[in-house]
Amino acid sequence: MIWNAFAIAVREIGRNLTRAFLTVLGIFIGVAAIITMVTLGQGATLAVKAQISSLGSNLLTLRPGAGFGSRGSTAGVPHFTEKDALILGEQIANIAAIAPVRTAAMSTINLSNARSSTVTGTTPVYFQINKWSLADGRFFTDADVRSGSAVCVIGNTVRVELFGTENPIGAKIRIGRASCEVIGLLATKGQAGMGDQDDTIIMPLSALQRRLIGKTSSNDINQISISARDGTDSIALIAEISSLMRQRRNLQRNQDNNFNIFDTRQIAETLGATTQLMTMLLAAVAGVSLLVGGIGIMNIMLVSVTERTHEIGIRLAIGATAREVLLQFLIEAVTLSCIGGLLGILLAFGLCYSLAQVIQVPFNFNSQINLIAFAFSALVGVVFGYTPARRAARLNPIDALRHE
C-alpha cells in the first residue's frame, strides 16, 4: 500500500510541476537563508575572536583621561612619563612586560608617494607585547633605543602605499622633518574591529622624541602597553596598577582616576558576545524567512484545495480509502519538502563557501543548523501540505466531488 501510494504521489507531483515548483521554492529559500545566515554569522564570530586574540590576549593599555567618549578628554590631564612605566614594571610582580608608547600623526614621504600615518615610538618589548612578527628585515633593538637611531619598522598598509611592489628594506623615508631608514616589515594582522592594524610605523621612542617632536613635552609618553603574566587575574592586576598610578599622580581620595586601563580580554568577551547576538538575530531573521516560505506553501496548498478536493472526491468514488488518499498526500508533501530542503542545503553550502571568501570570514560547515533547518522545513511542508487534505478525505465522496 505504501509503495502504491508512493507511485501515485510521484505521478501527481509530475502532473502539476508548477505547484510542485512553488512548494519546493518556498522551502528551498527558507532553508538556504537560515543555514547561510547562521553559518556566516558564526564565521564572523570566529573571525572577530581570532583578530582579537592577535591583539594579545592578556594585553592591558594604560591611557590618560578618565575613559572613552566624552570622559576621554585629555585636555589638562597630565601625560605619563617613561619613569611611570619603569616603576610599574619594577613594583608589580604580575607584569610580564611593559613598554612606554608615544604616538603622533606624521606625514610620511617616499619619493613621490606621501600620506599621513600614525607613528609609534616605543621600546623593542612592544613587539612582543602586541604580538607583532616580522615579514622581512629586523626589529629595532635596545641599542637603537639608547642611541636614538633613525630607524623604523613599517606595517603592510604603509608599505603598499609608499613602496607599491618595491622592497622597502633599507630604503629611507621621510617622516615629519627627519629621514628614517626602514629596517623591518611587519607580518600583516588584517582589519580588526578597531581599524586597520597594519597602517602603522614603529620606531625607537628616543628617536621619535628627539628627532621628530623635539619640544619641551617631548619626554612625555601618552600610552603604556602592559602584558600580564599568564594566569593573572586581570581585575586584581588592574586594581594594583590603578592604586600605584593614583599614588604617582598624587590623586586625593575624592578625585576620580585621570587615566584609564583598557583590558583586551574584556573587549574580546564583549565583542564575542555582540557577534553572537548578531548571529542569533540573523538566525531569527532567517527563521522568519522560513516561516514566510511555509506560509507561501500554505497559500499554494489552499489555492489548489478546490482542485485537490475534487481530485480526492474522484479517488474516493473509484474506491480509494481515506487512508490511502491521505498517505498519498503525505508522501507528496514529504517528497516536495525534502527536495526543497536538500536543494536549500546545497545552495547554502555554495553561498557560504563563496560569501565566506568575499567577506573574509572562515567557513565552517555546521551540521547542526543544517539538520535543524531541514527538519523544520520538512515539518512546515508536511503540516501545510497534509492538513487541507485531511479535511477533504473525511468528507462523503459526493460532497468532495461537488466541491467546485
Binding site: N4, E307, G313, R315, L316, I318, G319, A320, T321
Partner: protein, 230 residues
C-alpha cells in the same frame, strides 16, 4: 426468483438539522435484480440524484435499510464503503470527473492501481477497456484534449475496467449533443446486454430513458411509478 441485487426498505435521506432540515428521500422501497437496466426519472429536486448517490455508496442514508448482495450497506463504515465501490461498483457522472492533466490510459488505470494490480496487468486491462469504448487511438490524450463524448467514453472505460457488477450513471448524457448521446446509450446498452452489467441510470430525458427496460419515476422523495417495458 433469485435474491435481489439491491433491496431498499423505507430509505430516507435528510439534509440539514432542525428547522432547516430538508427531506430529499421520504421512504423509498425498491428492488433491483442482477442484469437489469433501470432508468431513474423525475423532475429536478425530486431526489433522484440523491437516491443514486446513496445507492452508489457515495452518500449515506439517514434511516431505512439498503442491502447490496445481502450486505447491509447502512452499517458499513467509510473504509468498507470504499472497498465496496472498489470491488463492485462503477460510476459515470454527468461532469465526467476525470483527473485533469492525466492521460486517458492513466485515468482508466487508476481504479486498478487501488486494487494493487501489477503494472503490466493494469496496462493490458486499461487498453482493453478503452478499446471496447472505441478510444484505441486516444490513450495518451488528457481530458482537455478530448471532446465531451470522448471524455464520457474514458469515464465509462474507467467504470468498467474493474468489471463491476453494477454501473451507476448520473445524467451520463446531460452534457452531450444528440448524436453523441445516441453513441453513449448504445455503449451502455451493449455493456448491459453483452456483459450482463446491471445499469442504473438517472436521467430526465424521455428519449434516453426509453433505452432502459425499466423506468422508475421519483417525485418528492417517493417512488411515483415503476414500469417495465416488454
Amino acid at each position: 426468483m433469485n435474491t435481489p441485487l439491491i433491496e431498499l426498505r423505507g430509505l430516507t435521506k435528510t439534509y440539514g438539522l432542525g428547522d432547516a432540515a430538508f427531506q430529499a428521500l421520504k421512504g423509498i422501497d425498491l428492488t433491483i435484480h442482477k442484469g437489469e437496466f433501470v432508468a431513474i426519472m423525475g423532475p429536478s429536486g425530486s431526489g433522484k440524484s440523491t437516491l443514486m448517490n446513496v445507492l452508489g455508496c457515495l452518500d449515506t442514508p439517514t434511516t431505512g435499510s439498503y442491502q447490496y448482495e445481502s450486505i447491509a450497506v447502512e452499517a458499513l463504515d467509510a473504509d468498507q464503503r470504499s472497498l465496496l465501490r472498489r470491488y463492485a461498483l462503477g460510476f459515470v457522472f454527468q461532469g465526467f470527473n476525470l483527473l485533469a492533466r492525466t492521460s486517458s490510459l492513466e485515468n482508466v488505470e487508476l481504479p486498478l492501481l487501488y486494487r494493487g494490480m501489477s503494472r503490466a496487468d493494469r496496462h493490458e486491462k486499461a487498453v482493453a477497456a478503452l478499446t471496447s469504448v472505441g478510444l484505441t487511438t486516444k490513450l495518451s490524450r488528457t481530458p482537455g484534449e478530448l471532446s465531451g463524448g470522448q471524455q464520457q467514453r474514458v469515464a465509462i472505460a474507467r467504470a468498467i475496467v474493474t468489471e463491476p457488477s453494477t454501473l451507476f450513471a448520473d445524467e451520463p448524457t446531460g452534457n452531450l449533443d444528440s448524436v453523441t448521446t445516441r453513441d453513449i446509450m448504445e455503449l451502455l446498452t451493449r455493456l448491459n446486454e453483452d456483459r450482463g452489467i446491471t445499469v442504473l441510470m438517472v436521467t430526465h430525458d424521455d428519449e434516453v430513458a426509453a433505452t432502459a427496460k425499466r423506468r422508475v419515476v421519483i417525485k418528492d422523495g417517493l417512488v411515483e411509478s415503476d414500469s417495465t417495458s416488454p
